[in-house]
């Protein structure tokens, strides 16, 4: 019995709607996921293992980890700083700053890569200068990192700002009246209050950094074993009709996505000890 009988749908309607939603999402979202694992395991574990232990695949995995290891901390520091000044202070241009931080979300990944080519490519603004000094950004690790930085730019700030705005600034003000310095306030008062949201933002940022395709595709140059990240490796294998290999790498990335989702769900339910207490 519903606690609000006057506005409850009849039981059959509720069951129908829930069933419909489950069915449609299973067809639309879960079936593709199942297809990845099925295709990868079409010929058993052997080929999967072979595809993943291929030197090019290992190089791609290492490069992906390296790019994420640089991009995620940078965007975490920037995101925390941005969230701190937007959520804890009033200043003219605050709304504009927030809008600019979120801007990369509405830019196509391909454009996120393109802009770096326009700056640092052979015919880019700084291309000739870079060439004269024997520096390479595009088609090399720095380009991959920059493109990844652009697409994952807003994740941490976006997760933190609503929470920090909701928490207000009175806890920080209390710390100030008790004699705490700025860093003491941040590390002892603010950070513990936002840690699970921060972790969730970092995980999302990381998932996107490891899985990004369009932006890195533009700046990569696709040199096997050198500038190929995992998603790019998938494309190459697919275009060479090595379907099992392509799906094996895809399955690995899909696992990363599932782990991220599970961790995020756990964090949203209040962190390991249920102490988010927002």
């Amino acid at each position: 019995m519903s606690p609000r009988p006057a506005i409850a749908e009849p039981r059959w309607a509720r069951i129908f709607l829930c069933g419909l939603a489950l069915l449609l999402l299973a067809l639309f979202l879960l079936l593709p996921l199942a297809a990845v694992f099925t295709e990868a395991l079409r010929r058993g574990w052997g080929p999967v293992w072979q595809a993943l232990s291929d030197p090019d695949a290992i190089a791609a995995i290492e490069l992906t980890l390296l790019v994420a290891a640089i991009a995620v901390p940078v965007n975490t520091i920037g995101g925390v700083a941005g969230a701190w000044c937007i959520a804890k202070f009033d200043f003219p241009g605050r709304a504009l700053l927030l809008a600019l931080i979120e801007l990369p979300f509405s830019v196509s990944p391909v454009i996120s890569g393109l802009v770096w080519v326009l700056l640092f490519g052979a015919h880019g603004w700084f291309g000739p200068w870079l060439q004269a000094h024997d520096l390479q950004i595009v088609f090399a690790l720095p380009g991959l990192v920059l493109a990844t930085l652009f697409v994952t730019f807003p994740f941490v700030a976006r997760t933190l700002i609503p929470l920090m705005q909701e928490q207000g600034r009175s806890a920080e003000e209390a710390a100030a009246t008790l004699g705490a310095s700025g860093w003491q306030t941040f590390f002892r008062v603010t950070l513990p209050e936002i840690r699970w949201a921060l972790l969730s933002g970092v995980l999302l940022c990381n998932a996107r950094a490891m899985g990004e395709f369009g932006a890195v595709s533009v700046v990569s140059g696709h040199v096997r074993g050198e500038t190929n990240t995992m998603p790019l490796h998938i494309e190459i294998l697919y275009n060479e009709y090595q379907f099992v290999g392509a799906f094996a790498v895809a399955a690995l990335l899909a696992l990363l996505a599932l782990v991220t989702l599970a961790a995020k769900a756990l964090l949203e339910r209040g962190g390991p000890r249920g102490s988010l207490a927002a």
Binding site: S170, A171, A174, T177, R188
Partner: protein, 356 residues
């Protein structure tokens, strides 16, 4: 400890929150900042704490100008309206915070900190709560934790923003007496903000009544009640009803209500003196300052309810309703009577402040 404010101004964009505030508080005093919301009292408190800064003016604490010193260097205790306890810290950790963040050179040993925290918690009668998180204790207990936390740094001055605002009426009463006793016992100098006149009158040695960014009167509760400085104070304090009228050389004539004029010698306030001028005025009459005579007259009793030995009555006079206290059994609802004011506090109607 002494506190002196001079020429304090603060505006937020076009809105002037504080206009030329001056205030002197002596060591050991318990002072209330009383006013309606938007009168600037919280802004003033935050400026004292170093959480906000004045556009102009001096904040002298022990004869040192602190107006531009940030909160962390002031050693002023602040109890926030909603307590602002650190939610991820236990009660003990909350109270210890101010000692633990001190620079190493002046930080007490952990054992000393623990001893001081426990002493405070005991003094606040919440020793058994030391391991709880703020979300696990009641509102009144949270308030005590907030107070203990503020007192842990041995503040020169204790500031409380609406200290009872977030509590039930029941808890409120008990805590008031307790806070007053604590203030005396610890020999504190305290300022608190409230919009509740009963609270201010009951607790404070002196009350600063604020209106539109100014302190319009700063005096003991008794004198504020007896001699309100202007119409605003008279209307805000003591549940007085306001009437419009005119002062003639001889008497106060009421406008728009069938009340007999009051001769000058019956009036209170500055306008009561014979040479105090004349013209449009506002009169404030409290509920006990009426006399009702049964029989045909200017009023009809519309309702009455008993209140502690007296009767709180509402009369219809022409188009107006007047609240008055009567002895019990004098009149029945529906009965006519003659209603006369015994006295009135009168203030000549002039713009109370010229806009600066």
């Amino acid at each position: 400890m002494s506190l002196a404010l001079r020429g304090l101004r603060r505006s937020f964009g076009p809105a002037q929150a504080l206009r030329d505030i001056a205030l002197e508080v002596k060591g050991g005093e318990f002072v209330a900042l009383l006013g309606p919301s938007g009168s600037g009292k919280t802004t003033l408190l935050r400026i004292l704490a170093g959480l906000d800064f004045p556009d102009q003016g001096e904040v002298r604490i022990d004869d040192q100008d602190m107006a531009q010193v940030p909160a962390r260097h002031r050693r002023i205790g602040f109890v926030f309206q909603h307590y602002a306890l650190f939610r991820h810290m236990t009660v003990f950790e909350n109270v210890a915070f101010g000692l633990r963040v001190r620079p190493r050179s002046s930080r007490p040993h952990e054992a000393e900190i623990a001893a001081r925290v426990r002493r405070l918690l005991e003094r606040m009668q919440i020793a058994e709560l030391e391991r709880r998180l703020p979300e696990q204790i009641s509102g009144g207990q949270r308030q005590r934790v907030a107070l203990a936390r503020a007192l842990a740094i041995e503040p020169r001055l204790l500031l409380l923003d609406e200290p009872f605002g977030a509590l039930d009426a029941e808890v409120r009463k008990g805590l008031r007496h307790w806070l007053r006793a604590l203030h005396v016992e610890l020999n504190l100098t305290s300022l608190f903000v409230t919009h509740d006149q009963d609270e201010a009158m009951e607790l404070a040695d002196r009350v600063a009544v604020m209106q539109a960014g100014r302190i319009v009167q700063f005096d003991t509760p008794a004198r504020i009640l007896d001699q309100p400085a202007n119409g605003f104070v008279a209307g805000f304090i003591g549940q007085a009803q306001r009437f419009a009228g005119r002062l003639t050389p001889q008497e106060l004539v009421f406008d728009g209500i069938p009340l007999a004029p009051l001769p000058r010698h019956r009036l209170l306030g500055e306008a009561a003196a014979p040479g105090a001028g004349q013209g449009p005025a506002e009169a404030f009459i409290r509920a006990h300052e009426w006399r009702a005579t049964p029989g045909p007259g200017n009023a009809v009793l519309t309702s009455a309810r008993p209140a502690g030995g007296r009767v709180q009555a509402v009369f219809a006079l022409g188009d107006s309703l007047v609240e008055a206290e009567l002895p019990p059994g004098l009149l029945e609802p529906g009965e006519p009577c003659q209603l006369d004011p015994l006295t009135a506090r009168v203030f000549l109607a002039e713009a109370p402040f010229a806009a600066p």
